[in-house]
């Protein structure tokens, strides 16, 4: 059930593109509700094929995209106003695919969002968000240190993600995708995490452990 809600969230994000004037909004909503019903049916059939892991990946992809709205990077990392926000994904093919799909044609705080796959061995440079999937947990010791002190929002999905120096770590509680935040890691990386994000975080770790 929790994933179904996440599914709604995803389609919800998509529907948000129908940005329109207030007057025409509910026409759009109505149209979208129809569309959503169809996609839900379609999605249900898709979901039937997909594993719960896939659904989790999709939710995490949406979260990854949205984190960008609540985090402030130092100005220097964006040469221009319309410099793209780059999200690097290490492993997690389903998530990367989904993220690309979400990000395509959308902006975050006026910046286009691009997704870059990080292959093993590739240097992690020029990314603003770095997601390291569980499958790449072995590379944590390699990847995290390189980004320490760099203006990169590191996101992990392992139990000891924060302890290992990541800024945000996905957890699953009550069949829901939640996340925990390390303010220390963020400070270290020169990032400022918005209070609303902290408010909805499952746990906020203030100091380095």
């Amino acid at each position: 059930m929790a994933f179904l809600t996440s599914m709604e969230r995803i389609t919800d994000d998509r529907s948000a593109r129908y940005r329109a004037s207030t007057a025409s909004i509910w026409i759009a909503v109505a149209r979208f509700a129809l569309l959503a019903l169809c996609t839900l049916c379609a999605g249900a059939s898709v979901a039937a094929d997909e594993s719960p892991q896939d659904i989790e990946q999709r939710v995490k992809a949406a979260f990854l995209f949205k984190f960008g709205g609540y985090v402030e990077w130092p100005e220097r990392v964006f040469p221009r106003n319309d410099s793209p926000l780059v999200i690097g994904v290490a492993g997690a093919d389903v998530l990367a695919e989904e993220l690309s799909r979400i990000a395509s044609g959308r902006t975050m705080n006026g910046r286009p969002v691009t997704v870059r796959r990080i292959r093993s061995g590739e240097p992690v440079t020029g990314v603003h968000v770095l997601f390291i999937s569980r499958s790449e947990a072995g590379r944590l010791g390699e990847l995290l240190p390189t980004t320490q002190g760099q203006p990169v929002l590191t996101v992990t999905e392992t139990e000891k993600g924060l302890a290992q120096g990541s800024v945000i770590n996905f957890v699953v509680a009550d069949n829901r995708v939640r996340f925990e935040v390390s303010l220390a890691a963020a400070n270290r990386n020169g990032l400022r995490i918005g209070a609303p994000l902290l408010a909805v975080a499952q746990r906020v770790q203030e100091k380095a452990q």
Binding site: E8, T22, I25, F32, A33, G69, G194, P196, L197, V200
Partner: protein, 634 residues
């Protein structure tokens, strides 16, 4: 006294004005403030809710984005501090209910299944507000707030306050208006009162008191000035009126005197129906005599000089001339009668000619002023009366002589008849007496009885003749002895004589004290004889005859009454009672000649009195007669 203008009074107008003004101001202000307050309430309410929704939206954006329903619910729960908010909800972008909130203690509120379009809706006492949550230029969801909207409560409260304030303000304004009206109307009322007094009493010396220095004060001054002016004018008018009245009085007095004199003269002239003329000392008409001309028809030429003589009857002027000459010699007024020609009736009429000499300074006759008065009608009337009188006297004398002769003849006839009848009657009586005495033995009983009848009848006839003789003697002989008569003694004497033969004590005959009378004693004795005898005769058949004789003095006359309880009579025959030979009963019933009451009447009448009879059949009779009263009470 203040005139009562009722509701039109200035006081009421002022009062009403203040009240109406205050009320209007209060109403306008109250309504304006009410509208303003309700508007600002609405605006504040909407703004407040919008802000609240915006805050909740912003705070819940992350929760929506990261699917944190608990956080959203916590956010909504913060609304507990806003008890006016009944319910709240957050919907996600798809319109699904994401989180909701109900005011503690509230019943279940049915939250809308889908969010409405953004905006505010008022439903009765409820305010619904929808607010989009926008993040990163995308609609994230909708905040829904449902709040108490205390519009009506506020309205009623406000109206209550307005009403209360109005009442308070009205009370204050009434007090104020009382004070104001007192300060404004008292001087006005005072002026009004003075004006009324002036109108009622016409006393222009009254003045209104000036109490204020405003327009009313000025009005009072002007009013007082006006009064003073009116008083002055009135005084002037009165003075001039009095002068005028005096003049008019004088003038009308003069006019009245003139009119009186004129009327007197006119009356005088009118009263003088006679012709007025003037002649000079030689008895010649020298001036125009219009009255003379009009009466006699003579022209001025005809009567000029001694021409007036020709208007008199040919036989008269000489006598007139001689009379006039005597008067002229003695210088005394002239008065004589003559016949003067009257043109209108074309005949000579008797006139009375009068003239008076007007004497000059030397006692000489200057002229004569005279009148000619028509006395013809009077003269003729006098003549006629004289003639009629003479004629009448002649006829009376003639008739009296005839009557006297007839009467004398009649009386002497009746006397001689009576006298002559006596001789044969005496012969009848004498011879029947002799027959009775000398031939008693030879007559049988029937003969004796017949003889007794003859004697009885002849005696009765003798009495009748005696009565007739007495009656006729009454007419012939004058009453000579008018002496003072004690009527009580006379009546008692007669009664005694009449009762001598009757059974003692059978008859009650009471003679009371009677007044004395003037008259002939023997005649009056006859009166008593007849009246008492009459009474005894008609009451005699009663078992207990009663006769009362009473008398008194009334209006200087002695009145006597003889009342009995006899058979009485019918009043319609009262007039016949006193006639000669007039009888109401047959001789068989009651004896009598029918002359008695005639004698009574004749005696009483000849004494200057009167007699009358009253009675009723079966109830007795009362005879009343009057006589000249005696000198003193006997």
């Amino acid at each position: 006294m203040t005139p009562n203008f009722g509701l039109r009074s200035v006081r009421h107008k002022l009062f009403a004005g203040v009240l109406v003004t205050s009320l209007a101001a209060l109403l306008v202000t109250g309504v304006a403030m009410l509208i303003y307050d309700l508007r600002s309430y609405h605006t504040a309410q909407v703004n407040d809710l919008t802000t609240q929704a915006e805050l909740i939206g912003r705070a819940s954006a992350a929760a929506l984005q990261f699917d944190d329903r608990k956080f959203a619910a916590d956010n909504l729960n913060l609304l507990k501090v806003r008890p006016k908010i009944r319910a709240a909800a957050i919907y996600n972008a798809k319109g699904g209910l994401f989180a909701s909130y109900l005011r503690p203690g509230a019943q279940s509120e049915d939250l809308p299944a889908l969010p409405d379009s953004e905006g505010v809706r008022v439903t009765g006492e409820r305010l619904d507000l929808y607010r989009r949550i926008v993040g990163n230029n995308e609609i994230l969801g909708t905040v829904y707030l449902r709040s108490d909207y205390e519009f009506y409560e506020r309205l009623w409260n406000y109206l209550g306050i307005v009403l209360g304030v109005s009442v308070l303000a009205l009370a204050v304004s009434m007090l104020l208006s009382g004070w104001l009206q007192a300060s404004v109307t008292r001087p006005i009322l005072e002026v009004t009162g003075v004006a009324r007094h002036v109108v009622e009493r016409r006393d222009f010396s009254l003045r209104a008191k000036k109490t204020t220095e405003d327009e009313i004060g000025y009005l009072v001054d002007a009013f007082n000035d006006m009064l003073a002016e009116i008083a002055r004018q009135t005084e002037a008018l009165k003075t001039s009126n009095q002068a005028l009245e005096r003049q008019i009085a004088e003038r009308s007095e003069a006019e009245r005197a003139l009119r009186d004199s004129e009327r007197r003269n006119r009356t005088l002239v009118d009263a003088i129906t006679s012709v007025v003329w003037t002649a000079d000392h030689q008895k010649a008409f020298t001036t125009t005599q219009p009255a003379w001309g009009a009466y006699t028809g003579q022209t001025e030429d005809e009567y000029r000089g001694a021409g007036w003589r020709r208007a008199f009857h040919a036989e008269d002027p000489d006598a007139l001339e001689s009379h006039w000459a005597e008067a002229a010699t003695a210088k005394i007024p002239l008065e004589c009668e003559a016949r003067l020609w009257h043109a209108a009736s074309s005949e000579y009429r008797f006139v009375s000619v009068r003239a008076a000499p007007v004497l000059g300074a030397k006692d000489e006759i200057v002229e004569w002023i005279g009148t000619v008065t028509d006395i013809d009608d009077r003269k003729r009337a006098e003549e006629e009366i004289r003639r009629l009188n003479a004629e009448l006297e002649g006829r009376v004398r003639e008739r009296t002589a005839q009557l006297e002769a007839t009467n004398k003849e009649l009386e002497s006839f009746s006397y001689s008849v009576s006298h002559d009848l006596r001789a044969p009657l005496r012969a009848i009586d004498g011879y029947s007496q002799m027959l009775e005495e000398d031939y008693r033995d030879r007559l049988d009983d029937e003969g004796k009885r017949l003889l007794t009848v003859v004697r009885h009848e002849s005696g009765k006839m003798g009495r009748l003749i005696d009565d007739l003789l007495a009656f006729s003697r009454l007419g012939r002989n004058p009453i000579n002895a008018m002496a003072e008569i004690d009527m009580t003694a006379l009546a008692k004497d007669v009664a005694q004589e009449l009762l001598r033969d009757d059974t003692p004590d059978r008859v009650r005959l009471d003679v009371w004290r009677l007044p004395p009378a003037q008259g002939d004693k023997s005649l009056l004795r006859q009166v008593w004889m007849n009246l008492l005898g009459n009474a005894l005769k008609y009451a005699g058949s009663r078992p207990r005859p009663e006769i009362f004789v009473t008398g008194e003095i009334t209006n200087g006359e002695a009145v006597y009454r003889v009342a009995d309880n006899g058979v009485g009579f019918d009043m319609k025959y009262a007039g016949k009672l006193f006639g000669v030979f007039q009888r109401l009963h047959s001789t068989e019933e009651f004896a009598g000649t029918g002359v008695g009451l005639a004698i009574v009447q004749r005696v009483v009448t000849r004494h200057g009195g009167s007699v009358r009879a009253d009675g009723k059949v079966g109830e007795g009779a009362t005879f009343t007669f009057t006589l000249p009263a005696g000198k003193h009470d006997g």
